[in-house]
């Protein structure tokens, strides 16, 4: 488990970028529900944590590819491949990401 941040530092609509074991991970607070996905867009090098969060979707800040935070699946071009998703756990007011569990999109 990787500690991402204090829950108070991740209010609704915000995102943080954390160092993962293999690649950076972005953690989002979508209206009170937390999601973690690979931070790097599968299209080209851009940080999704800097993107536009709308509901369960994040739009890449570089070329507007969009990903579903629940599944990691891209919802439009130019991205074609999914990002990985990770379980998020909140314990004692701290946000943790279970980066060992890599869930690929079916």
């Amino acid at each position: 488990m990787i500690r991402a941040c204090a829950l108070t530092d991740l209010p609704p609509g915000e995102a943080v970028r954390v160092v993962g074991p293999h690649a950076p991970i972005a953690v989002f607070n979508s209206d009170g529900v937390l999601y973690a996905i690979d931070d790097t867009c599968t299209h080209q090098d851009a940080s999704l944590s800097e993107g536009w969060l709308e509901g369960c979707f994040v739009e890449c800040p570089l070329h507007a590819a969009s990903f579903d935070l629940r599944t990691g699946a891209p919802t439009c071009l130019p991205a074609k491949r999914p990002v990985k998703t990770y379980p998020v756990v909140v314990k004692d007011g701290e946000v943790y990401v279970d980066a060992e569990v890599n869930k690929d999109v079916a």
């Binding site: 080209q44 851009a46 944590s49 800097e50 536009w52 739009e59 800040p61 570089l62 071009l77 074609k80």
Partner: protein, 367 residues
């Protein structure tokens, strides 16, 4: 319409084919491309491709190609329109089509004894030339020139960039922000010379400036813009004036012919941007299938450039009332907004260096 021919097999042409299928067009699609390659992404060519980090980045994988199910005519040029429904090709054949998408792009403006960078073949040639060069001269300090300069610098070359205007990127970003971008060259050991024209380039490299100065360079690259690839349309039924003249929906003076991408002069403006090529393809194909202009696109002018480890993003239009909202130019990390002259509360443009987060938020408020 049983056949639609797409003339041009790069981003705008490919996206047009995909958009046609997505909208249910189940007729025949013929795609004509003058390069021998299947569609590939051009932006990496000036960056990771020159550095040897990537090879050609395909825009369509096998699954995409299967879905498009097109008849590809690659390595063949369109040479003329025989009628509004028949295209002549350089191999002597013709293509008959009830609908036509013109996506022939742009041709780099050339200077004798210089290289240009537009196509994959250009990039291969340039990468080989850079391998043997110690010094590199770049004419034009726009985004492409600056990106090539950055790549050449990363490869350890001595880099000189020559810009005719007093500051780079003035037409896009305005003088102040253009100058800010120009400072990146000096930060990273490249030399930027502004406000002077190029007289000529020697056959063995070396740039002769109009003020008598000379710039040593083993390889010289011209990044001074493009002209629309419309030569093949001369004398034909489609109206041409700085590109293919079309309305805001990409429809030309001929109802069954639309234009997309760098070649399209839409409602008086030729965008020449990666993002607009994609957007135009969606709208123009819709209008083509509808047989009339039922939708229009709005060009938001979004561009990005990665150079010297800095990501520059711009959207909207530049004005002289430009305000740094966050960060500082000195830190090369900032966001600035352009304000409307009459209504300074209105943000009409945004430029950022290495602050995609705030840029992305502010662009939602763009007027």
């Amino acid at each position: 319409m049983r056949t639609i021919a797409i003339i041009g097999a790069s981003l705008a042409g490919l996206r047009s084919a995909q958009a046609l299928r997505r909208q249910g067009f189940d007729g025949r699609i013929v795609i004509v491309g003058d390069e021998v390659h299947l569609p590939y992404d051009r932006p990496p060519l000036s960056k990771d491709f020159l550095l040897g980090k990537v090879e050609a980045v395909p825009l369509a994988d096998q699954e995409d190609l299967d879905a498009i199910d097109a008849d590809w005519r690659l390595g063949v040029r369109a040479t003329g329109l025989l009628s509004t429904q028949e295209v002549a090709l350089s191999d002597g054949t013709t293509v008959e089509a009830g609908g036509l998408v013109i996506a022939t792009g742009g041709i780099p403006r050339a200077i004798s004894n210089t290289q240009v960078l537009r196509t994959l073949d250009d990039a291969v040639k340039l990468r080989e030339a850079l391998a043997d060069a110690n010094s590199v001269g770049i004419i034009g300090a726009g985004f492409i020139g600056a990106e090539i300069a950055s790549s050449a610098r990363s490869l350890g070359k001595e880099v000189t960039v020559v810009e005719a205007l007093p500051a780079p990127l003035t037409r896009v970003l305005g003088a102040e922000m253009g100058a800010a971008c120009g400072q990146l060259h000096g930060d990273h050991g490249s030399t930027l010379i502004t406000g002077v024209n190029v007289d000529s380039v020697n056959i063995d490299g070396g740039i002769n400036l109009a003020d008598g100065r000379k710039v040593d360079a083993d390889v010289v690259i011209a990044g001074i813009g493009t002209r629309p690839a419309t030569d093949w349309l001369a004398g034909g039924p489609v109206k041409v004036d700085n590109g293919v003249v079309c309305d805001a929906g990409g429809v030309t003076n001929v109802k069954n012919i639309v234009a997309v991408g760098d070649v399209a002069n839409c409602a008086g403006h030729r965008a020449e941007h990666w993002t607009s090529a994609t957007e135009q393809a969606q709208i123009a194909t819709r209008n083509l299938l509808a047989g009339d202009t039922v939708a229009t696109h709005t060009n938001d002018g979004y561009v990005w450039s990665d150079q010297y480890g800095v990501r520059i993003q711009f959207i909207g239009r530049a004005t002289t009332d430009v305000r740094v909202e966050d960060g500082s130019i000195e830190d090369r990390k900032f966001v600035a907004t352009y304000r409307d002259a009459a209504n300074p509360d209105d943000i009409v443009g945004i430029v950022a260096m290495s602050n995609a987060r705030l840029f992305t938020r502010l662009r939602r408020n763009l007027k």
